[in-house]
Subunit: 223 residues, 2 copies
């Protein structure tokens, strides 16, 4: 186990986006442990309407990486055309973040495992139409992103880095074809997994008092 | 700390929905620790577009509880009218689950703290319109539900139980009014917090092999 932790609060505070990976394979038992933790997340009516595809095979990883790079290029073109990053562009660290995302997008298959987290629209009842379309996004996504976060925390606990991405969505069709993902499955997230090149660090966040209120909007949290 | 754990994997496996609470207050430092853990979650472009309102005051909790009960009754009427629970109704344990949800809905303010997890649509760039409407639900909800899961895991680590609910949405307007939540904030989830009446248990889930594939759809995960 490389730089693993089993302390809950350490894991919560040090699970940040990892985008540079060592080539080392993730052992099967570690991958099993990470995926098992994902499935302990909550879901609407405990439907557990998820499916995870863990992709290790080089050919499939290459196919995903190619689609991902094209999606990223399309996203960048959209951003430039519509000024979509206006809110973030000037923020300290943003240029470096874009460079890192770009670097990953150029070689997504440098991650030894790519996990697709999928929602089965046929198991979502009135939240979806059963043919791949989400009708009630709030409760549907509430039934998959907690599992994705569990997965990333469990990975951290095994010394494995990850990052949550949705960029692939613009070229999802190619990924579906490469992995035979049926139409009723909605791909909610793509999570690369691998042992990180750098140590895990405490993630830096806005001051807590700027994002938390007590009892009503605008009231500061005090003890 | 009542029945707390700081072991990551124990927390992941034993964070289930808690809907019956002891009346004991949650100390300020514990609430602070839980909310702080929430903010270490990932978000699109690290925008941290969230805000958490922790409601302890009895009057506001009562107002939320009243709206919540009305929303639950509306949801039940919808379910009966549209057969919305057809997928789950016959499942073992479903009737008991509904009874528990109903019990909580009749007295939501039995939880000493109610947390609203909100998305600031003005901080979501092209993912929202800045006036409270989500335009890209997948990436927007990917920027709040991981934080909600962190919150519930950290609560577990402090011996505090929780459950993720979105039922309130049908009577959200009353909750907004009671707490002065501005229109540009989208309420993504309501999470009651309190010390549980019963011990935490390992959550029971579908067999892992039924929800995980390796390399392509339908291929079993093996080591």
């Amino acid at each position: 186990m490389i730089d693993g932790t089993t302390d809950l609060f350490t894991a919560l505070r040090t699970t940040g986006s990892i985008r540079r990976f060592r080539p080392d394979a993730i052992p099967g038992d570690v991958l099993h442990r990470i995926l098992e933790a994902a499935t302990h997340a909550p879901s609407a009516w405990n439907a557990q309407p998820w499916c995870f595809v863990a992709v290790r095979a080089p050919a499939q990883r290459r196919a995903i990486a190619t689609a991902y790079r094209q999606a990223w290029e399309a996203a960048q073109a959209f951003t430039a055309r519509t000024d979509a990053d206006a809110l973030w562009r000037a923020r300290p660290g943003h240029a470096r973040l874009v460079a890192r995302v770009d670097e990953l997008a150029q070689q997504l298959d440098s991650a030894p495992v790519l996990v697709l987290a999928c929602l089965d629209t046929a198991q979502l009842g009135p939240m979806a139409d059963g043919h791949g379309n989400i009708l009630a996004p709030q409760s549907a996504y509430a039934s998959i992103f907690p599992a994705v976060q569990n997965l990333m925390l469990a990975a951290r606990g095994c010394g494995v880095g990850s990052t949550l991405t949705t960029v692939y969505a613009l070229h999802e069709a190619e990924i579906r074809r490469a992995l035979d993902v049926p139409a009723h499955m909605h791909i909610a997230a793509l999570i690369p997994l691998g042992y990180p090149l750098r140590p895990f660090r405490v993630t830096q966040r806005k001051p807590l008092e700027s994002v938390v209120y007590l009892d009503r909007w605008g009231e500061p949290l005090k003890d």
